[in-house]
Symmetry: none
Subunit: 412 residues, 2 copies
């Protein structure tokens, strides 16, 4: 079944607040077999609300509205819906009790503005809001459903979870969806597309493929629609197996995996430790690794060796190496990795040295040139990469490349 | 003038990607005197695109579309627009050169899919995309404007900045706006609002104030609307002076300033050097400092001392200190800062040690507890902060707090 969302709020239209309600709701509805067709983001304005609601009802079975239910004057959704459905506001006793309870719990005095929150259109079914003072509302008209929810994320989420989604599933007898994400690294969107073209063309009609590129990765998302969740899962698993034979060498993970979490899991499992020696990535690899809860089990720490003296003093890079080959060189990268590994007593060390830009590039070593080295017991290895322009982008790409290389080492 | 936005992408409708393009565009258009009336988020589907575009054109002067311009099969915006405007696709030479240049620079071979990106509807004005391969397109019909942009944020932003907004301003004769951002740190939105209430109420009618809170900072944005840009600038400057007398102690910068750039400027100006010794912030302070181009002039490097052994071995924290007071303590923070300053031979060192969570909190030291220390020639000082829940949030807040403290030291 199809749903349209209407998110109401001036703050969304001047870019002060990112519309995370829309993405949360879309994901949650999707996980429950419902499809969001469109999201309308509109102003706190009665005419806009009526016009959009009319438009949104045309093409779907249900419309969910968020926002505009607060006690202040600029929140006008409830009055507008009352007018839209030709109803009048009546006091809802259970909602009044709910508001009173919340205020007595917080030890705040109630004002008439707060009491007015328990007024609802006579024609709606009230969805009690246990997380706040504005009740949710469920309307039906001409076989279609309109739901109005508060815009506060926790309240909206609570109501979606306990009231709206169960009611929608019951009301519309909903189809299942199964999603699978396949994460690839080191291959561009168009090359990937070329390699899997035949497979893509032969996908069953009920499976949809999407390409989602970011930071040198391309995420492939398979979405299967049907009656039987278990059959969908099997169908998708079969397709993923075919995909693995075609581009397995580029796949680094699935679903919630990230390079930093995968590297962490491998290190933890093999009881190995890691240290970092970063120049151009300036601490970003360390930050990624430590963003994973529990990283202290395998990540010892590292050196951010931004100045040459720091490379010499804290990583043991030879002065002569820096003089002869420069800071951005195979030799320096290797000595950084080797030095970090030995000085911290770790199993693995990863090192980066390069030119993030915008200044510092030369004809021989243009901006984006990065040497990455990995040291392990068996020795040290370094490779040169070109990550193009954009300081932040170079840092991100170099960091992910380093993690991807580490993953490969840990798997081999 | 009014604009509607259409963001195309299946990933937006299943909630896998948050629609940050919409909020960025809304904020940027707003900053330039244009008003976003509605945002439509829709699927990669030709019928949907045509239907929504028709609807969106009804109520506004211009419509900006993002997404669906990539080289792969699920990107269909261009073909749909071609049909919508009754045009045919033709090869655009300058765009082809642009695609070729990008590929040769990255040393990638081009495929026919990539070449096809230089095909554009004959009736459009091409907006050259310097940041990627898909060109932007500008259509005019019945006095209204339709712009199509790639969905990749950096490409969309580059095109908005250099092409779309200047063209829209010229085409529709938009009123002048002058903006000034005032960055505050260490005071909550509601306390700030209380302190500046009288000033806010007495602002001239043509000046609008917005509060933009993030990561412990509140950005105040003054926007003045009128005919004469020079008069607007003077008006705003006068108001900022009044603001400085009210809350000057919380202001750390203006407009494009960031804490990392301000700290960098102060260090460079005073010819002082800085090192970092990070435990719970895991390299994030280093990353922030090195995100500023030219950081090598004052930032030497640092240690990410995640494990206790790293704190002892590389920063000289005493084993007895760790045993007696624990890693998250005033003593450890002080020894980390002092050790880093001495070992790297820097003027300043900043250290962090704390509990980012979600695990590791105790009754005495709950999640969010962070000790920050700053060492300088005169000695070392440490302070304890509580940054609440959320691993990433704790790391960000602790990092900014450390930089703000450094700024205060450098200014005193």
């Amino acid at each position: 079944m199809n749903i349209n969302l209407i998110n109401i709020g001036d703050e969304l239209l001047i870019g002060q607040v990112v519309n995370t309600n829309a993405s949360w709701m879309a994901a949650y509805l999707n996980d429950n077999g419902m499809r969001v067709k469109r999201v309308f983001t509109i102003a706190d304005n009665a005419d806009e609300i009526k016009l959009t609601l009319q438009e949104a009802l045309k093409s779907t079975d249900a419309v969910i509205i968020t926002g505009g239910l607060g006690p202040t004057k600029d929140d006008i959704t409830k009055h507008t819906l009352c007018e839209f459905f030709g109803s009048t506001l009546v006091l809802h006793e259970a909602s009044l009790e709910n508001v009173q309870q919340i205020f007595s719990k917080r030890n705040y005095p109630m004002t008439s503005l707060n009491e007015a929150q328990a007024l609802v259109p006579a024609c709606c079914q009230v969805l009690i809001n246990k997380w706040g003072t504005a009740p949710g509302m469920w309307f039906e008209k001409d076989g279609k459903v309109v739901v109005s929810l508060p815009g506060v994320p926790a309240e909206m989420q609570g109501l979606m979870h306990e009231e709206v989604v169960p009611l929608l599933c019951k009301r519309f007898g909903v189809e299942s969806i199964y999603h699978k994400n396949i994460w690839t690294f080191g291959i561009g969107e168009s090359f990937l597309s070329d390699k899997i073209e035949q497979w893509e063309l032969s996908l069953p009609k009920n499976i949809h493929l999407a390409y989602l590129p970011k930071d040198g990765m391309v995420r492939l998302r398979l979405s299967a629609y049907g009656d039987n969740k278990i059959r969908l899962e099997k169908q998708v698993t079969d397709e993923v197996k075919k995909l693995q034979t075609l581009v397995g060498e580029y796949i680094f993970g699935y679903d919630e995996d990230t390079l930093e979490s995968i590297v962490g899991q491998l290190l933890a499992k093999q009881r190995k430790t890691l240290v970092t020696a970063e120049s151009c990535t300036g601490g970003n690899i360390a930050r990624l690794l430590t963003s994973v809860s529990g990283a202290s089990a395998y990540y010892i720490g590292g050196i951010v060796a931004y100045a040459n003296e720091a490379k010499e003093q804290h990583l043991g890079v030879l002065h002569s190496t820096l003089e002869q080959y420069g800071a951005v060189s195979q030799q320096t990268a290797e000595e950084m990795a080797r030095g970090a590994r030995e000085r911290f007593g770790a199993d693995y060390a990863v090192a980066t040295t390069g030119i993030a830009g915008p200044d510092g590039g030369t004809l021989e070593k243009p901006v984006g040139t990065v040497w990455i080295a990995v040291a392990e017991e068996q020795g040290v290895e370094a490779r040169c990469f070109s990550f193009g322009d954009g300081r932040e982008r170079v840092v991100r790409r170099a960091s992910y490349q380093a993690l991807r290389w580490l993953q490969t080492k840990l798997l081999s």
